[in-house]
């Protein structure tokens, strides 16, 4: 089956290529060669990043020219993927698709030979909004309940949050440093474990991203307390933001495509254009809806602003807790 698929991809590429031969305007403008584009993800297959990247790899060849492969490299806690892209030829054919963890946080806390300025965003897929949740029969059901309970008995509430300093842990740290509250932080192996610990009654609260709990919240099997974002999540319309509750803590995560900064700007521009065009196509929109990816693309300039903003925010939090100086 694998062979059949690559073959049909090859056919598609050939068809597209021959079509472009008749449209010299498009073909001549492309700074890309016929080699495939590799979207390298620093995570294992099957997760949200993988699924989102695959929407692009399924739709963009028509617009960009070459075939697009998603390559998963989760080695060295994601740094292997980052280094692989860093050391690849800067021709726009090897790109990194990542959230801020392996690039912003690692750039601060890990011993890496690159800085945040060595990367340029090509495009942003989506913003992920960290959400605090619990089971429906738990005494804490709202942000106020949580704050009251944590004020009355500090450091008694257990909070599950996947890997330390990750996307669903840093917002908790920021929230605690703004409010002065204390909780017991319980690292877990990921969203699945956090959730089974909460549902089994082993811990009190946890943090995750909205799509993974949306249907349970709607069915009343989980309660979402609040979201660390400026606006409410479209998939959790009844869940307030922490800002609405009076706590100005906003720390959304994103999923961005990066090129190294030595990739020529016309190549990045070309990639940005054809990726955005592909994601706006009816096929991509339908796919994105089906997989609940919530893709709302941002162009390179907006993504760069978002990236720099995140670098500054995360830097402040890490300095604040003494993780870096």
């Amino acid at each position: 089956m694998f062979h059949k698929m690559t073959n049909s991809n090859k056919v598609a590429v050939t068809v597209v290529a021959s079509m472009m031969a008749f449209a010299p305007g498009v073909a001549a403008a492309s700074p890309l060669s016929n080699d495939p584009i590799r979207l390298v993800i620093p995570f294992g297959p099957g997760g949200g990043s993988d699924i989102t990247a695959r929407v692009l790899s399924a739709t963009a060849p028509e617009f960009c020219g070459p075939r697009i492969d998603v390559v998963s490299m989760s080695g060295a806690a994601g740094l292997e993927a980052v280094n692989f892209v860093r050391n690849a030829e800067p021709n726009g054919h090897t790109l990194l698709v990542t959230d801020y963890g392996p690039i912003v946080t690692s750039g601060f806390v890990d011993d890496v030979d690159w800085s945040h300025d060595d990367w340029q965003p090509v495009m942003n897929f989506t913003e992920w909004l960290p959400t605090v949740y619990t089971r429906p029969d738990h005494p804490i059901q709202t942000i106020d309940d949580w704050v009251t309970a944590a004020t009355e008995e500090p450091a008694t509430i257990t909070f599950g949050h996947a890997s330390p300093l990750g996307l669903v842990h840093l917002p908790l740290i920021l929230f605690e440093s703004v409010t002065g509250l204390e909780n017991i932080h319980v690292p877990t192996s990921g969203g699945g474990e956090t959730r089974s610990l909460i549902m089994g009654g082993h811990i009190d609260l946890g943090m995750t991203l909205p799509p993974s709990i949306a249907s349970e919240v709607a069915a009343g099997e989980l309660t979402a307390l609040g979201i660390f974002s400026e606006e409410r999540s479209p998939v959790l319309p009844d869940t307030p933001t922490f800002r609405e509750a009076g706590y100005d803590v906003v720390l959304p995560a994103w999923l961005m495509i990066f090129a190294t900064s030595d990739v020529p700007s016309e190549t990045v521009e070309h990639l940005q254009d054809c990726f955005m065009e592909a994601l706006a196509s009816p096929t991509a929109v339908a796919m994105s809806d089906r997989v609940n990816a919530g893709i709302e693309p941002l162009n390179a300039a907006d993504s760069t602003r978002l990236y720099q903003n995140t670098v500054e925010n995360i830097g402040n939090i890490l300095r604040d807790i003494g993780e870096i100086d």
């Binding site: 089956m1 694998f2 998963s72 806690a77 740094l79 292997e80 690292p187 192996s189 610990l197 089994g200």
Partner: protein, 505 residues
């Protein structure tokens, strides 16, 4: 609900779906038989296909690969002593010994039958008992998990006959190797000695394949060199040996009485595999090792274990395969992916626009019923196809090592690289191979090392989570009846088998 059964039946047994299941099983068995490649990997590569196929066909293909891969892993475990997948590591212990005794086909057939029995039972449990079992599984928190991990480590390492100290030492070494990398709680680097590539720790596949396979290759290779040197020195040896040596296939058939004798071990494996499979995060290799350990304890011929016992093969393989249905239980009941495979099936559901969780069966009754039917009949396709393929595979196993070893070696390196797209993994593979040679030379058992390596991350997380939740009080580890029960059983077993049974000799 029943009115959707007929359309589901039509869907599941449409020729297209049956064909996809068969293709999947064939791919799974073949890939699983290659050291380092597993059904999970094939599923990951093929995930995007669900964009293009009908849901039932796509699920059929993935199910076929999964089940085929589960059994395929035992083919290379038995034939070359190389577990093709992590779950078949326990199968390698007795399976490879059986092959060395010249009966690879008996071991392979035992593995196939016990695998199919375990798998089918587990599927039935998934279909009929998913919800009650899932609720039990949720009561397993950090405290209970730590007890389970401690139980499994004790069972395997401390009870290795006559080598208790060596067994415990190996389990400890496995735990130590697993601690390389980032501290899961604080994020600090441990035991990486300034090598940034070690930050993510050692991956399971290269360690597993290296310890079992590469070390075996090195030993065989040096034996082959020795023999050659001897041959040159005295010319009495026969020059021309047939390709298959003196393997007699007609004597290597599994008899019915042998099959019946392994049934008890198969049922122990089936029960343990189904239960452990339903626990989120425990995994098939843990199930296989615990089943193997228990079957040895309860066997009338426990002494045969480790020397090519068919019961050992049956217990390990049934334990491994019986996780396959029940690992989907947390996914179906709560949307929690309990294993890598369950996560991949979850991703496949999401790609098809179906949200995993309790609503799944109500919102997509037809497809899920069809999947249930596929889960069951894929086992029979596996049985049929593998029975057809096994005679060829067991002949391959008996091909002379000077031809076979280089091929296996290349496949092991390729498979390891493909699993993580990482060159570092290949170095880890080679390093683990040399470590394996040294350990074999000093007669250390390898199984406890692998089990220690596999359970250490989970055990550490469970222990430290328990202590965090219990605010540093070690008594918190005894706060759960399930945990106390597990510790008690472990203590009783150790006392029984060290004090009572040792005297029998």
């Amino acid at each position: 609900m029943l009115e959707s059964f007929i359309p589901a039946l039509m869907l599941a047994f449409s020729p297209e779906v049956i064909l996809y299941v068969a293709i999947g099983v064939f791919m799974g068995v073949t890939l699983g038989a290659i050291p380092g490649l597993s059904g999970d990997m094939a599923i990951a590569i093929l995930l995007p296909i669900v964009f293009f196929l009908e849901p039932a066909a796509a699920l059929g293909l993935l199910t076929g690969i999964y089940k085929g891969g589960m059994f395929g892993g035992s083919i290379s475990a038995i034939s070359f002593g190389v577990p093709g997948t992590p779950g078949s590591a326990a199968t390698a212990i007795d399976g490879y010994q059986a092959k060395l005794k010249g009966t690879p086909n008996k071991a392979l057939m035992t593995a196939l039958y016990s695998s199919v029995i375990g798998d089918s039972t587990s599927d039935l449990v998934l279909i009929f008992l998913a919800l009650p079992l899932a609720i039990v599984a949720l009561t397993f928190g950090p405290v209970e998990f730590f007890a389970l991990y401690a139980f499994s480590l004790l069972l395997i390492s401390a009870l290795t006959k006559g080598k208790v100290a060596k067994g415990v030492a190996m389990a400890a070494l496995g735990v130590l190797l697993a601690m390389i990398g980032r501290d899961p709680m604080g994020g600090t680097l441990r035991l990486t000695f300034g090598i940034p590539e070690l930050a993510g720790g050692l991956a399971l596949i290269p360690v597993l394949v290296g310890i079992f396979a590469v070390s075996e290759l090195i030993i065989q290779l040096s034996k082959a060199w020795m023999e050659r040197a001897e041959r040159i020195m005295d010319d009495t040896r026969q020059r021309a040996q047939s390709l298959l040596g003196d393997y007699d296939a007609s004597k290597d058939k599994l008899t019915f009485s042998e099959f019946r004798f392994t049934l008890k071990a198969t049922w122990i494996g089936t029960t343990m595999g189904t239960l452990i499979g339903a626990l989120p995060g425990a995994g098939s290799s843990l199930a296989a090792f615990i089943s193997y350990g228990l079957a040895q304890r309860f066997s009338r011929k426990g002494d045969e274990f480790g020397k090519g016992s068919l019961e050992g093969v049956a217990a390990a393989e049934a334990g491994n395969s019986a996780t396959s249905g029940s690992t989907l239980i947390p996914l179906f009941a709560f949307g929690i992916p309990g294993s890598a495979t369950a996560a991949l099936f979850g991703a496949a559901f999401i790609l098809m626009g179906m949200t995993p969780g309790p609503r799944l069966i109500y919102d997509h009754t037809e497809v899920i019923y069809a999947l249930f039917l596929i889960l069951i009949y894929a086992n029979f396709i596996n049985l049929f196809l593998s029975q057809f393929l096994l005679p060829f595979y067991s002949k391959i196993a008996m091909i002379q090592s000077r031809i076979l070893l280089p091929i296996v070696c290349v496949l092991a390196i390729l498979g390891t690289f493909a699993a993580g797209n990482s060159v570092i993994d290949v170095w880890v593979l080679l390093f683990a191979g040399f470590l394996g040679v040294v350990l074999r030379m000093f007669n250390f058992p390898l199984a406890p090392l692998i089990l220690g390596f596999i359970v250490a991350p989970g055990a550490e997380r469970a222990l430290r989570q328990s202590l965090l939740i219990g605010r540093g009080d070690w008594m918190h580890l005894l706060s759960s009846p399930i945990a106390i029960g597990l510790y008690t059983v472990a203590a009783i077993m150790i006392l029984t088998f060290t004090l009572v049974l040792r005297d029998k000799k």
